[in-house]
C-alpha cells in the first residue's frame, strides 16, 4: 500500500515535472512575431499608424496571440524623411530582427523603402501611400520586389473612387458640368491627375483647367483667383501635404466654389480645430470615418482608438490596424514567419477589416500586391465636414446626411 502510493506520487510528480518542462519548451518556441512600424510620429496622419498597430497587437495578444506567439510592435519615428526611414528599416531588420515592416503614408518614403524590402527580403506593407509606382514595381520585377504590399488604394483607384462619388453626388444630383483640378506637386498626385483627367470627362465633368502647385505654397490667393477665373462648378482636389492652409484661405476669401476630392488632412478629426472650422463644407474621399459602419469592425475600432488615444484615427490608422490583423492571419496560415512563405500567405489574404474586404491583386495584374478596389471589396466613401464633424454622404447605403454648403458657396445650377 505504502509502496503503491509512492509510485503514484512519483508518477504524479513526474507528470508535473514533464508538464513544467513542456510548457517552458513551448514558451521558448513561441518567440514573438515582431512587426516594425516606421511612421511620421509628428504628422497627424502618421501618428495614428503606430498607435493603431499597437491597439491591434494588444487585442490579438489578449486573445492569446497567434498560435501562442505574441505580437510585438517595434516603433520608429521617421520625421517624414526618406533617409531616416531607410535607416530605421535597416535597423529594424538587422538589429531588432523584425519579421514584417509596416511603414509610412508618404509615397516618396515608401518608394525609397521598397528596394530595401527586396534587398533585406522582409515583407513590407504601407498603410497610406498611394503612388501607382509602388505596386507597378512589384509587377515589373516580381521576383525581386514581391516583398512589398500596397495596403492602401493606389492613386488610380483613388481617382476612380472620387469620380464614382462625383458622378452620383455632383453630376446626377446637382447637375454640375465643369471642374478644375487642383493638386499638389508630389509623387502620388501624378497618377492621380492622370486618373482624374481620364475619368472626370467620362462622368460628365469637363475639365476646364488643371493647376499643380508646390507643396510648400503658403499663399493660395493667386491659385483660387485663377480657378475662379475659369468659372468651374467644382474644384476637384488632390492634396495631402497641404490641407489646412488652402482650406482656411478658401473660407477666408469666400471662394464661391465647392471643393471635392482627396484632402488627406481633412480625414483627421483634428482638422476642424486646426482650421478653426473653416473645413465646414469640404468634401473629401475616405476609406472610413468616425461613426461610419463600412464593416462591423469599423466603428468599434474607431471608438476604442479614441478611448485609448483621445482622438479618432487618421485614414492610415484604419489601414495599419487591419494590416496587423491580416499579417497575423498570414503568419497563422503560413505556419511560420519565413519571408517567402509569409509573402505567399499575404497574397492569398481575404480579410474583412475596418475599411472593407482586403484582397491583393495578383502577379498578372498591373498593380500587383495592391489592395483590390471595387464593390464588395473596398470602394471608399465621400465624407463632408458638417457642423464641426465628419459625416458620410456617399455611397447611399452608408450615407447619414445630405450635402450642405456654407453660405459663401454659390452653386451655379
Amino acid at each position: 500500500m505504502k509502496k503503491r502510493l509512492s509510485v503514484a506520487l512519483r508518477m504524479a510528480l513526474g507528470t508535473a515535472a514533464a508538464g513544467v518542462l513542456m510548457t517552458s519548451g513551448a514558451a521558448l518556441a513561441a518567440d514573438p512575431i515582431r512587426i516594425g512600424v516606421i511612421a511620421e510620429a509628428q504628422a497627424i496622419a502618421g501618428a495614428s499608424i503606430p498607435q493603431a498597430a499597437q491597439l491591434a497587437a494588444d487585442e490579438i495578444n489578449a486573445k492569446g496571440g497567434v498560435d501562442g506567439r505574441k505580437i510585438e510592435i517595434v516603433g520608429y519615428d521617421n520625421h517624414s524623411s526618406s533617409a531616416d526611414s531607410v535607416r530605421a528599416f535597416q535597423r529594424a531588420v538587422n538589429e531588432d530582427k523584425v519579421n514584417v515592416v509596416i511603414a509610412s503614408y508618404i509615397s516618396e518614403v515608401v518608394l525609397a523603402l521598397e528596394p530595401w524590402a527586396s534587398r533585406l527580403k522582409t515583407p513590407f506593407v504601407t498603410p497610406g501611400a498611394a503612388s501607382n509606382e509602388i505596386s507597378k514595381s512589384v509587377h515589373a520585377d516580381y521576383e525581386k520586389n514581391k516583398y512589398t504590399f500596397h495596403g492602401y488604394l493606389t492613386s488610380a483607384a483613388l481617382a476612380l473612387s472620387v469620380c464614382d462619388g462625383a458622378k452620383d453626388l455632383l453630376v446626377d444630383k446637382m447637375h454640375m458640368k465643369t471642374a478644375v483640378i487642383m493638386s499638389e506637386d508630389a509623387a502620388w498626385t501624378k497618377p492621380l491627375d492622370v486618373g482624374y483627367e481620364e475619368c472626370l470627362p467620362k462622368i460628365g465633368l469637363k475639365v476646364l483647367d488643371h493647376i499643380r502647385f508646390s507643396p510648400d505654397t503658403t499663399d493660395f490667393t493667386p491659385i483660387f483667383n485663377k480657378i475662379e477665373g475659369a468659372k468651374p462648378d467644382v474644384i476637384i482636389t488632390g492634396i495631402s501635404h497641404v490641407g489646412v492652409q488652402p482650406t482656411v484661405q478658401w473660407k477666408n476669401q469666400q471662394v464661391p466654389i465647392p471643393m471635392f476630392g482627396i484632402s488627406s488632412q481633412a480625414t483627421n478629426e483634428t482638422f476642424g480645430k486646426d482650421t478653426n472650422q473653416a473645413a465646414e463644407g469640404v468634401l473629401y474621399q475616405g476609406v472610413s470615418g468616425p461613426g461610419v459602419a463600412v464593416t462591423p469592425k469599423s466603428v468599434p475600432f474607431a471608438e476604442n482608438f479614441k478611448k485609448k488615444f483621445g482622438n479618432y484615427p487618421s485614414y492610415a490608422g484604419y489601414t495599419a490596424y487591419d494590416e496587423v490583423y491580416y499579417i497575423a492571419d498570414a503568419v497563422k496560415r503560413a505556419g511560420s514567419t519565413d519571408a517567402d512563405k509569409l509573402v505567399a500567405a499575404l497574397e492569398t489574404t481575404d480579410w474583412e477589416g475596418t475599411i472593407g474586404r482586403v484582397q491583393f491583386y495578383g502577379k498578372d495584374d498591373p498593380f500587383t500586391h495592391s489592395i483590390k478596389y471595387g464593390k464588395g471589396l473596398i470602394t471608399g466613401l465621400m465624407l463632408q465636414w458638417q457642423d464641426g464633424k465628419q459625416s458620410a454622404v456617399w455611397p447611399k447605403d452608408i450615407a447619414k446626411v445630405d450635402i450642405k454648403f456654407p453660405s459663401f458657396i454659390k452653386l451655379s445650377n
Binding site: Q42, S214, T217, D219, P222, V242, V244, N252, Q253, T270
Partner: protein
C-alpha cells in the same frame, strides 16, 4: 481687375514681410546679432495664439495677446540663454563670436521648431482672424482680415518710428546702433539697451507671427522659410538699415505676388532670390546699406 488684385494682395503680404524683417534688422543694427531663430519665434507666436484660442478657448483677442507674449518671452530667452552667454564668454575669441551667435541661434531655432512639432504636430495651424468676412475693393473680393493685417503692420511700424526717433530710450537705441562705444562713454548701460531692443524685437516678431497665422497659417515647416525670407529682405535692404528693410520688403512682396499671378504660384520666390543675387553683385551693401 487683375492689376487691382495684385496691388491689394501684394500690399498685405509686403506689409507683413516688412514687420517681420524690421525687428530682425533692428537687432542686427544695434547689437550686430543675426538671429537665425527668427522664424521659430514667429511660428511659436502663431502656434501659441492658435492653441490659446482654439484649444483653451480664451477668445481671439486674448489668444493674439498670448501669442505676442510668448514671442516676447522666447525673444528674451534667446537673448539670455543663447546670445548673451556667447557675447560674454572669454573663451570664445571676439572675432569668432559672430559665427558662434549665428550657429547658436540657428540651433536654438531648430530646438524650438522640434518642440513645436513634438507637442503640436507639424501640420499647419491657423489663428482665428480678429475680423472675419470680405469686402469688395475696386471689384476685388478682399478678406477684411487682409486689410486689418495691412493696417496693423503699418501702425506698428509707425509706432516703432516714433519710439526710435521721439523718445529718450529710442534715441539711446539709435545711438547704440551708430556707436556702441560712444553710448557706453555717455554712461548708458549697453546691456540695458540690448534688453530693450530684444523686447521690441520680440513684440514685432510676435505681432508678425500672429498676423501671419491669421492671414496664411503656419506650421513647424515654416520656420526655415520665414528666417530665410527675413534674412534675404534684410540683406537686400542693407543689413541694419530699417528703412532699407521696409523698401526691400515691398520689393520682395510685390515681386512674389506678380510672379504668382502672372507666371505661376510654383515659381513665386524665384525672381526675388535672383534679384538678391543680382544686388549682391552690383551693390554688396544692399539698397540702403551703410558700408
Amino acid at each position: 481687375m487683375r492689376a487691382f488684385q495684385i496691388l491689394i494682395d501684394g500690399f498685405a503680404i509686403s506689409a507683413l514681410y516688412a514687420l517681420g524683417a524690421t525687428g530682425f534688422t533692428l537687432i542686427f543694427g544695434v547689437s550686430g546679432v543675426l538671429n537665425l531663430s527668427h522664424g521659430a519665434i514667429m511660428v511659436a507666436a502663431a502656434v501659441a495664439a492658435w492653441a490659446a484660442a482654439s484649444v483653451l478657448n480664451v477668445g481671439t483677442y486674448a489668444g493674439a495677446l498670448i501669442g505676442v507674449g510668448v514671442a516676447l518671452l522666447t525673444a528674451f530667452a534667446t537673448y539670455f540663454a543663447v546670445v548673451k552667454p556667447i557675447q560674454d564668454s572669454r573663451r570664445i575669441p571676439n572675432e569668432e563670436k559672430e559665427i558662434f551667435v549665428l550657429t547658436g541661434t540657428l540651433l536654438w531655432g531648430i530646438m524650438i521648431q522640434e518642440l513645436i512639432a513634438y507637442f503640436f504636430t507639424n501640420n499647419a495651424k491657423t489663428v482665428l482672424p480678429i475680423v472675419e468676412g470680405v469686402v469688395e475693393i475696386l471689384g476685388v473680393r478682399t478678406p477684411k482680415n487682409e486689410i486689418f493685417t495691412a493696417i496693423v503692420c503699418c501702425l506698428v511700424i509707425a509706432l516703432l518710428w516714433l519710439l526710435v526717433n521721439r523718445t529718450r530710450t529710442g534715441k539711446a537705441v539709435l545711438a547704440a546702433s551708430m556707436n556702441p562705444r560712444g553710448v557706453t562713454l555717455l554712461g548708458l548701460e549697453l546691456t540695458n539697451i540690448y534688453i530693450v531692443v530684444w523686447g521690441i524685437y520680440g513684440i514685432l516678431a510676435g505681432i508678425a507671427g500672429v498676423l501671419l497665422g491669421m492671414f496664411l497659417g503656419v506650421s513647424s515647416y515654416s520656420v526655415g522659410p520665414l528666417t530665410a525670407s527675413a534674412f534675404s529682405i534684410v540683406v537686400l535692404g542693407g543689413l541694419g538699415s530699417v528703412s532699407g528693410s521696409l523698401i526691400a520688403a515691398f520689393v520682395v512682396g510685390y515681386l512674389e505676388t506678380l510672379t504668382a499671378y502672372l507666371v505661376s504660384p510654383a515659381y513665386r520666390t524665384i525672381p526675388a532670390l535672383l534679384l538678391l543675387v543680382f544686388v549682391m553683385y552690383i551693390r554688396p551693401q544692399g539698397l540702403l546699406g551703410r558700408r
